[in-house]
Subunit: 464 residues, 2 copies
């Protein structure tokens, strides 16, 4: 690794050498996890380049390849798995300058990866009343490229499923890290090579994404006195094919009362809360539906309320913003990601809930998976020790729930504990020296890894 | 019933007294059913009024109420249950002049009921790239009011469910038939009073409907050599949350070869065919999906094909246009409407198919129901006798399939063989003399009817 030579060769680009700034740009929201916080807090790159074009991306990859310098790509750094952190140092490729929108058409947009999702949505809305089908709760700061490379779904997944589902990404343009980098275009089955690959096997330089109509979504909050009833309400609502919603979030009591500051005085510690985004023209249908649940109380709708302080956009109470709000109030809180699927998914949730006391607080997000309504759990956990956290994971698994562990920084451990052969095969082609985001794909480093415990990347640069 | 007095009082309106024209305007597509054809072929009104405004509707209802003249409302007469036919004679209220579009907004349109659906869609598309969520295959001639009052779902139901589902109708404005007619506005649970009530308890004068984005839907035809595989293909596709489709029709061999003239030479008598409408931006996802089924052959896509004669819009091969095409070639063909639901719906279809030979040809339409993908069957039946048709119905029911019998002219028999109490209760309020579309609601005429056989309305005017 010849950092100095690489920097010298790239000095004509937007190069950041300020240690404070480099450290900031080497971090993401890994600190949601006390496990990752303990391991990655010192991680920092040697330098940061912010390319302005695909040609500059190619140049960075060519030069870093020549000098054996690792390259870790990042968008806004809103991921929670350390996926944008340069474990072995080297170069962070910051995509903030690549924000061009190339084309907007009915149902699709073509753009560069560094554009912030809220800006992209604003542009497609202004152009033709369209927006992305789905976005993370961090849409105000996250980039579209980061979402594709490091995310899986979010606000809108109640209708459209996950990013990995066919049709939710149309095309990706990717640069490889070779002596002479290639530029490739992926569609169809090939998309899975690089989507949700943390930039371990190529750098996305252009994306084509499907769009949905952009409505003036109403934020709606509903309370129910019983958690199981709240979970049922959310699932039932999502199964109403004619009621267009974009978000169905269920928070167990006392999450809203304890952690949502602007809910103070509007909920009690006993209120389970359902957070919704409803299309304006679906409100009559929604209210008719809600009236069928006598215990459900609509306590807020964004178009007509008397709350003294506006609570802001609804989706910033859902997905990982729920976690963020909780840990800001109670720093010991972290979370787990759970998949509750199958026809008995509500029973699974009840079983998990019955097994734990206040150590866990249920937070559910409706998703579509294979045409079915399921719940993803982003369970709030009052963290004590790593051993106990592992035990909690095992208890979930014993109860038939799949865990996507957010206390791991590898693709495999954060996923289904198995290598994605398509990603691995493509990394062999596209990054033969293993310089792209090293340490994030176990199968590359230790092909026979048996998941006996947390994977510790041998190349992790030690703290100074 | 004083016909002459009513006509005299309404002579200043658009009044049709020509017997040939009156007879034509007294008919719908009831003749798809040999059972209804035998019973209703002679049915004709005494006169037809085409009101130009809600005020004229009120006047007609007031005058006809005063003179005891029945009033049967109709749109384009594309229904198949005789729902627009004046069994007791009297006045047909033809809505062809009430075609105004009052407002178009994001996600909604407000209009009069007599507008043809294709015209309405053209207007909302031109205004803001929107269209109705769902329409019948007769959209080119059917009216929106007729669809609401006499239909249940159709093209688009694969995504949005049925018309009766919450959110698929926003608001209906209705005039009652009293000495002094009332004008009422219904939303929410009240919509069910008059939607799919055949105009038996009020006349719809304005509708507010939700809109979806209008894409340049591509027609796509796929062949498979095995019927079960074709049914599986269609259901699997509909469960792909990220692939936006508007129509998934499955036709058993040899339907396409035998009845779809422009398919000649492109399919064989052994080809089962899946007819699709796919959003342009979903085509990559669709083709990726289709490639996972090695036996599925895409034989046509409307944006790139070499068929010598363009087959026209895809939806005119689906829903009841399939039946229409078949009976034009083979006049003995009629159909049944079957609901295949539950987790084993594909097994139910297989069981029905195994039970019959060429007497039945399967025709399936994907719908959403309660958040689930199900199939509606519009099974083609080679008619022999009424008794045999009844036997076929019973066999379906014995195999666990619900039949919506299209060989009946009452709401109950065409539905779930039970009265809709909301519709009956509202008829008591809105049509105390029972003058609106008489003979279509058994519960009004014979409250203790036991469904022991086909209901024969005692007031049916005899053939001359």
């Amino acid at each position: 690794m010849d950092i100095a030579a690489a920097k010298a060769a790239l000095a004509h680009l937007e190069l950041d050498e300020n240690p404070t700034s480099i450290r900031a740009k080497s971090r993401d929201f890994f600190w949601y996890s006390p496990v990752l916080k303990a391991r990655l807090d010192h991680v920092t790159a040697d330098f940061v380049i912010s390319p302005r074009s695909e040609a500059e991306v190619i140049e960075v990859l060519r030069v870093c390849h020549a000098h054996g310098v690792p390259v870790t790509v990042r968008g806004a750094g809103t991921g929670n798995y350390g996926q944008a952190m340069p474990l072995a140092g080297g170069c962070v490729l910051h995509m903030k300058n690549m924000v061009a929108i190339k084309a907007i058409a009915p149902g699709r947009v073509i753009c560069e990866p560094g554009i912030v999702i809220r800006d992209l949505d604003a542009a497609t809305r202004a152009h033709s009343g369209q927006e992305l089908r789905m976005c993370p709760s961090t849409a105000a700061t996250a980039t579209i490229g980061g979402f594709i490379a490091g995310g899986s779904g979010g606000v809108g997944s109640v209708r459209w499923g996950a990013l990995r589902d066919l049709g939710n990404i149309i095309r990706l343009r990717v640069v490889t890290m070779e002596a002479a980098p290639s530029v490739l275009e992926f569609t169809g089955e090939e998309l899975h090579r690089v989507s949700h690959a943390y930039g371990t096997n190529g750098i996305i330089t252009e994306v084509e994404m499907p769009l949905a109509p952009a409505y003036d979504w109403l934020g709606v909050f509903v309370t129910l006195p019983d958690f199981a009833a709240a979970a049922q309400f959310g699932a039932d609502l999502a199964r109403q094919d004619g009621i267009l919603v974009k978000l169905v979030t269920v928070c167990e009591a006392p999450v809203a009362d304890a952690y949502f500051q602007r809910f103070k005085g509007r909920v009690t510690a006993a209120d389970h809360v359902v957070i919704l985004m409803v299309a304006p023209h679906a409100m009559d249908g929604f209210l008719t539906f809600a009236a069928r649940y006598p215990e459900a109380q609509v306590i807020y709708r964004s178009d007509a309320h008397d709350w003294p302080r506006d609570p802001g956009v609804a989706y910033e109470y859902g997905w990982n913003h729920t976690t963020l709000r909780a840990l800001k109030v109670e720093p010991s809180i972290t979370y787990l990601q759970v998949r509750y699927a199958g026809p008995d998914f509500l029973a699974k949730i009840a079983a998990v809930r019955a097994r734990f006391g206040p150590e866990l607080m249920q937070h559910l997000e409706v998703m579509r998976e294979g045409g079915q309504v399921i719940y993803a759990g982003l369970t709030l956990v009052r963290f004590t020790t790593e051993d106990r956290l592992e035990e909690i994971v095992r208890i979930h698994e014993d109860l038939g729930c799949m865990i996507f562990n957010p206390h791991r920084y590898t693709l495999e451990e954060g996923g289904r504990q198995s290598v994605d052969d398509r990603q691995l095969a493509f990394k062999r082609e596209a990054d033969p020296q293993g310089l792209l985001n090293p340490g994030k794909m176990i199968a590359w480093d230790v092909p026979d890894w048996a998941y006996q415990g947390i994977y510790a990347y041998a190349g992790l640069r030690a703290a100074e």
